[in-house]
Symmetry: C2
Subunit: 202 residues, 2 copies
DNA sequence: GTCTATATCGCGATAGAC
DNA sequence: GTCTATCGCGATATAGAC
């Protein structure tokens, strides 16, 4: 690899790192391109040598996160469909999703802000939500095919679960304990507000 | 009321109506002040006679909705705390919240976009979420005091429930049937994915 | 490939006539 | 109170030297 190409690679990763930091601190919409080049220690014009726009830089961060996410899922052996109503499996799933999202807070936040800025009628956020929860939907469809009774349409249930998770991951102050969150969400999604013992048992 | 004051009131409500329409169509962030005055059939400068900024106009729409919301809650007699794990009460609560949110889609969307634009570190969305779910939290605390086992900390559970609702209300295409959504959410929040019969029953 | 300097533009906000 | 006209800022994107 030539000197110039190497320098280019360095600049590119410096820009990505700076963007990550700034997106986490002040959000995607509030981060200007000059902010990114500034913290990366580069000139404004250099940005466009690597990305056509802020939006395109975000796509790069996005694919990074997805690769990381599917790697984590694969290593946990969650590729095969299984019963989400099994406490161990459900908790595992939620834990992996939570860790990836919280570990990439900046990216989650930026994707979220970007989709929201497109406006409600654009459907960008709904697309993002259904795409991101496709794994849940498949598991739920598998459960339904096994004869299980579900709370409703798999796509809707999956979107509800994913929406809950991602909104919390976005908004929640970093101080919250990850374990507490995962425990609570597992309990809520597994047995609801009524708890593990059915009403008639009271 | 004098002629001028009357004309002013007309202009103001025209601006509010135009803003409502545009916020629903293209979202809050994508709506420019000149868009609002344009659709309202007024000149750009007139806007500032009534509102100091787009943000202030949004506050006016917000108070409108809250008054409407608390009126709806009062007429349903949901002021007193009761058991959210009761299917009838839970469904009632979710239905009222859903109707108000979907009936004021534009305002919900605008508040949401405004809070998101403030960035994740600002905590604006978290504040909005905890404030908006204060009613749930109170009910959950009441349940806990009655000796009920909850999935977790009331504030967290309330935020999770509210986040799910409001994100769905924001993103979901208008075509979805309200009844189906309310039924599904009630079932999910009441008994979770495992359903009304506990696992040991299988 | 990176830099500095600058063109360009959308949009919020104001001034002043009617 | 409403209108037309315009100022001025902030931010994207480009031009051209090194």
């Amino acid at each position: 690899m030539g000197v110039r190409k190497l320098q280019a690679a360095e600049t590119e990763s410096a820009l990505l790192a700076a963007a990550r930091q700034l997106f986490a601190e002040r959000g995607y919409l509030n981060t200007k391109i000059t902010d990114i080049t500034g913290t990366a220690g580069r000139a404004t014009g250099s940005f466009y040598q690597h990305f056509a726009s802020k939006e395109e830089l975000l796509r790069a961060l996005e694919t990074d996160m997805y690769e990381q996410g599917s790697a984590a899922l694969a290593s946990e052996g969650t590729g095969e469909p299984h019963d989400l109503a099994d406490p161990v499996h459900l908790r595992e799933h939620l834990a992996v999703a939570w860790e990836v999202m919280r570990g990439n807070r900046a990216v989650v936040a930026a994707l979220f802000e970007s989709a929201v800025a497109a406006g409600p009628a654009s459907g960008a956020l709904w697309d993002q939500l259904t795409t991101g929860t496709a794994v849940y939907r498949e598991h739920l469809e598998y459960m339904r095919d096994q004869g299980r009774e579900l709370p409703g349409d798999p796509e809707l249930v999956a979107a509800a679960m994913g929406g809950m998770m991602s909104l919390l991951a976005y908004t929640m102050p970093p101080a919250y304990s990850a374990d507490a969150v995962i425990d609570t969400l597992t309990a809520l999604l597994l047995h609801g507000l009524a708890g593990p013992i059915s009403d008639s048992g009271r």
